[in-house]
């Protein structure tokens, strides 16, 4: 059992800045003319004179790209990599982000030559292997969500939201009225209102009830014949399952409005409950959250959209078609489609990884994964709720949201506590979100954390709470052990330097 004493602040010394691995310059600053990291094979066709062939379109001034050797490039990016925190280093409890383990076999299979080298326009007859992979993933995701039809085209979660709301809009239009507004709870991700806006809808805010959930009375009041849909995250951003989900769906459906579910928090539901079984009409998934494809420092993602049968005719073009002879092909004959949302078929490399994850788990593994994710969040809640204020006492699922009320009274905010957590070897939790919780600490451990790692995290959180009481300056000036200290964001925004330039 880990005790607080074992991990008490070792310090405030910081890293050795003078060491060359900590002072890697920009590529451009390391460049010197004549260095090479490449060699092209001999040209086996006649050489051409680019200036003659291209005329006025010929480039005469090259771009300032660096000139380096291979070892320098390897060292450059390896050194940079060590300045990052990562799931592979430790717990990454960002609420809403589902930072789970990214299995390495996924990376291997996504690079299998026949899959990685396939051109999107190769004839369907030469693409049956990848089409089978796509078809099996679609079937698995439909089973997991309990929905009827799916597109894998959207490139990320927000892109999936866009696609899903377009389906909603197209269906309403087919009923004679596109309607005007989308209801969005005040606890929602920022992408929800941004999506509604680019789909041509106005956003109407729905105030959460005292438990952080949907207020049925307010909903009943606000849903009308101009309401296209409610965009709901379930479990919500405070990690709570909307137990009145059936009533919510009923209220919407009674006025002809649809229920859109943001699937960001599906890691709490896979194998335990299916949105298709509780009234959801359309939803997106994040393969980079729930299905273990790597976040990669911000992407790529993949945001499949699943829907009920009545929305199927509107899915983006093309859709995968099963031919009678057992082969598969893309169908472009989609007169009611909302159109394309992306060139080609989606982030296929992510499909391969997500399917590898599903196959590695099977039905038992998927269910156990969800149970462990929920168990971990509840364990953290039980071990910290005496120290950090829990604004909503409702049962937590895969994440728990505290606020900084007690610590703020002593002068330390959630943002400062988060920075101090870095000194203890953890990535911060999500800070100041959802907006319905003032000073939120949003913690999502995922299933990937061992009991030992959880205990270390809990001990760190408890130690920081004590520091807030005893040595608040230590917290407020954190982090102390990183390569750089707190960065000046105001200066960055006021006089933006967004690129390197050669100085004479």
């Amino acid at each position: 059992m880990t005790t607080d004493a074992m991990i008490l602040p070792r310090a405030t010394t910081g890293k050795v800045r003078s060491h060359q691995t900590q002072n890697e310059a920009l590529l451009f600053e390391k460049s010197s003319p004549g260095k090479r990291a490449y060699k092209l094979p001999p040209l086996d066709v006649p050489e051409v004179d680019a200036a003659t062939l291209l005329g006025a379109a010929h480039r005469t001034t090259p771009g300032e790209l660096p000139e380096l050797s291979e070892i320098e490039i390897i060292r450059h990016f390896t050194r940079l990599s060590t300045w990052n925190y990562a799931i592979d280093l430790g717990m990454y409890p960002l609420g809403s982000c589902t930072m789970k383990y990214n299995p390495r076999v996924n990376e291997l299979v996504a690079r299998i030559e026949g899959l990685a080298e396939a051109h999107p326009y190769r004839p369907d007859s030469l693409a049956q292997g990848i089409l089978e992979v796509i078809e099996l993933l679609q079937r698995c995701l439909l089973e997991i969500t309990g929905m009827d039809a799916i597109t894998l085209q959207p490139a990320a979660g927000a892109h999936g939201e866009f696609t899903g709301i377009l389906l909603v809009r197209a269906w309403h239009e087919s009923q004679g009225n596109a309607r005007k507004k989308i209801l969005i709870p005040d606890s929602a991700h920022g992408t929800n209102p941004a999506t509604a806006a680019i789909c041509g809808y106005t956003v109407e805010n729905l105030k959460s009830n005292s438990e952080g959930g949907i207020d049925l009375e307010a909903l009943t009041r606000q849903v009308d014949e101009e309401t296209a849909a409610l965009m709901l995250t379930n479990p919500s951003t405070i990690g709570v399952f909307e137990s009145q989900i059936a009533q919510i769906a009923e209220i919407l459906h009674a006025k002809g409005a649809l229920l859109y579910m943001d699937g960001a928090n599906m890691n709490a539901l896979v194998g335990k409950a299916r949105p298709g079984d509780f009234g959801v009409d359309v939803m997106h998934l994040n393969l980079h959250k729930t299905f273990s494809t790597p976040h990669g420092g911000g992407g790529p993602g993949s945001g499949p959209v699943a829907c009920k049968t009545f929305l199927e005719p509107f899915l983006p073009t093309p859709v995968l078609h099963q031919n009678e002879n057992g082969t598969k092909s893309w169908s472009y004959d989609r007169p009611n489609s909302v159109g394309r949302v992306r060139a080609f078929y989606g982030n296929v490399g992510m499909f391969i990884r997500a399917l590898a994850y599903i196959l590695a788990n099977g039905p038992d593994g998927l269910r156990q994964t969800t149970e462990d994710a929920v168990l971990n969040a509840n364990y953290i809640r039980a071990k910290l709720e005496d120290i950090y204020e829990l604004p909503y006492k409702t049962a937590s699922m895969h994440e728990v949201v505290f606020n900084d009320k007690r610590q703020r009274a002593l002068g330390a905010t959630t943002g400062e506590i988060a920075k101090r957590l870095i000194d203890y070897g953890f990535h911060p939790y999500t800070v100041s979100f959802p907006m319905i919780v003032h000073g939120a600490l949003m913690i999502e451990p995922t299933e990937s954390e061992s009991l030992e790692e959880l205990d270390l995290f809990i001990a760190a959180m408890r130690a920081i709470a004590r520091e807030v009481e005893e040595t608040p300056e230590l917290v407020k000036t954190a982090p102390h052990s990183t390569r750089v200290s707190k960065l000046d964001e105001v200066q960055a925004a006021r006089k933006p330097i967004l690129r390197w330039r050669r100085t004479a």
Binding site: F28, Y38, L40, L43, D44, A50, A56, A57, P62, G63, L65, T82, W83, A86, V105, R111, G114, L115, P120, P123, L126, Q128, E143, A155, A156, A158, H159, L166, G190, T191, P193, A197, G200, I245, N286, S292, G296, G297, G299, V338, G339, R342, A343, L359, A360, P363, G365, R367, D372, V374, N378, Y379, M397, I422, S450, L451, E489, A492, I497, L498
Partner: protein
């Protein structure tokens, strides 16, 4: 369950400490009627070796031993080995968006380098941290021009990738953003400048063109810019083949460049993930979509990098954001950054020249076969060209497939007027032997075994 780091005893211990009798207690909040009381109908759990076997079999069914002349927005180039070595470092692969700057300096500095390289190559002042791909990037660029100009119409070249145009149509439909299409000159394959001049008005927010265009032809950017700017419309240049910038003059007259950077070391992967990016003139930066990394200093004065100008973005501005984009293509942008480091200032030019030479030889060789003709001869090209044949592509394509060659793509699927016309691409990975074999098969000549 090899990914789950817990023993049954530990689970029991944790439940006890939570005060739950069983795991079901933690799911009791889900109404009983909504709980799934059966196994999911998905395949049973596979061993790691079985997973590899499954995907190897799928890969083998895809047929790997074909030489391909397909391009059209997805290009096969050689990918230096160190790209995959470096991006599979866990610190890059398994990190999140670099919101916590102090422990994300690696990702942040690499994005800053990416932004710089893209700006240098495109001739723009600034570039963002990436977009989903070239198609959504082009649509977002048009919406950006609408915000900049306050105008609500767009003029689009029919020689922009047809799928990019479809994506733009999907976005534009709900923005109150009508778009008009301008055709191409039948001799040169370039945008019809007279038609463009007639379409661009004081209400035009942006002119969207692609260069090299969908036919591989390089557009006359200075002339197009003059027409757009005469009516104070913005010029957006979409670039689907980024390698072209090694040898093709960058579109410096453009206001916004939307580029697909897949050619910079990113596998074809059946169409994704790719790497879009938007670059622009400095004065438009506050209307740009997507993430931006900026340089700053820490409290001791050391140089460091942060995500900046985020008041444009959805997590701050919600429905008033410049875009709903959140997750982008960061790891793919890192691949592009490593690729450009490997080739560098000289290498990117040399590589582009090889592409030019291969395509030039392929165009000459294929078009000199009986019944074959090269279209759009009157304008400069990069590495794609349009071939017209007497036979329909359906007739000759099987002969090529029999010789393990995938020929050009049939253009009549998007351009009905281009019957028996195919778009061919020859990058540096195509060999002279591939080209000669394709030429012979096209001519229905007996092909000697290689």
């Amino acid at each position: 369950m090899r990914y789950l780091p817990k023993s049954p005893a530990e689970r029991e211990q944790m439940l006890a400490e939570i005060g739950a009798l069983s795991i079901d207690d933690l799911f009791a909040v889900i109404p009983a009627g909504h709980r799934l009381n059966r196994d999911l109908y998905v395949p049973r759990a596979y061993a790691e070796s079985e997973i590899i076997d499954y995907f190897r079999a799928a890969g083998a069914k895809n047929a790997t031993d074909y030489a391909s002349f397909l391009g059209a927005g997805a290009y096969r180039h050689y990918r230096p080995v160190i790209i995959d070595s470096l991006i599979q470092r866990g610190e890059f692969l398994t990190s999140y968006t670099p919101y916590q700057a102090e422990i994300s300096q690696g990702t942040l500095q690499a994005i800053f380098e990416f932004q710089t390289m893209i700006a240098e190559l495109t001739g723009m002042d600034v570039a963002n941290a990436s977009m989903y791909d070239g198609s959504t990037g082009a649509a977002e660029a048009v919406m950006m021009a609408v915000r900049v100009t306050g105008r609500h119409k767009a003029v689009v070249a029919s020689t922009v990738h047809p799928e990019y145009r479809e994506v733009l149509a999907t976005y534009a439909k709900h923005q109150g953003l009508p778009t008009t299409l301008v055709g191409y000159n039948a001799e040169t394959g370039r945008l019809d400048l007279a038609a463009l001049e007639a379409e661009v008005t004081q209400e035009t927010a942006a002119v969207l063109v692609q260069s090299p265009n969908f036919f591989g032809v390089i557009e006359d950017i200075p002339a197009i810019a003059a027409i757009a700017h005469a009516k104070s419309a913005l010029l957006i240049v979409s670039i689907a083949e980024a390698i072209s910038l090694g040898v093709v003059r960058p579109p410096v007259e453009a206001d916004i460049v939307s580029m697909e950077a897949q050619s910079f070391g990113v596998a074809l992967s059946y169409g994704g993930p790719f790497c879009g990016v938007i670059a622009a003139k400095e004065q438009f930066v506050r209307q740009m979509p997507g993430r931006l990394v900026g340089q700053t200093v820490d409290s001791s004065g050391y140089r460091g990098f942060v995500l900046t100008l985020s008041t444009r973005e959805q997590h701050i501005r919600r429905e008033k954001a410049t875009s709903n984009i959140c997750t982008n293509q960061a790891l793919v942008a890192l691949m592009a950054t490593i690729f450009l480091s490997v080739y560098g200032k000289e290498g990117i030019r040399e590589l582009a020249e090889h592409n030019l030479a291969k395509a030039n030889y392929a165009a000459q060789t294929l078009s000199s076969q009986p019944g074959a003709k090269l279209l759009f001869k009157g304008a400069p090209r990069f590495h794609e060209f349009v071939l017209q044949t007497e036979e329909s592509p359906a007739q000759w394509s099987q002969r090529l497939l029999d010789n393990k060659i995938v020929g050009g793509i049939d253009l009549s699927r998007w351009y009905p007027e281009l019957q028996n016309c195919t778009l061919w691409c020859a990058t540096e990975v195509i060999t002279r032997a591939n080209i000669d074999t394709a030429a012979n098969a096209l001519a229905a000549k007996l092909v000697e075994a290689l």
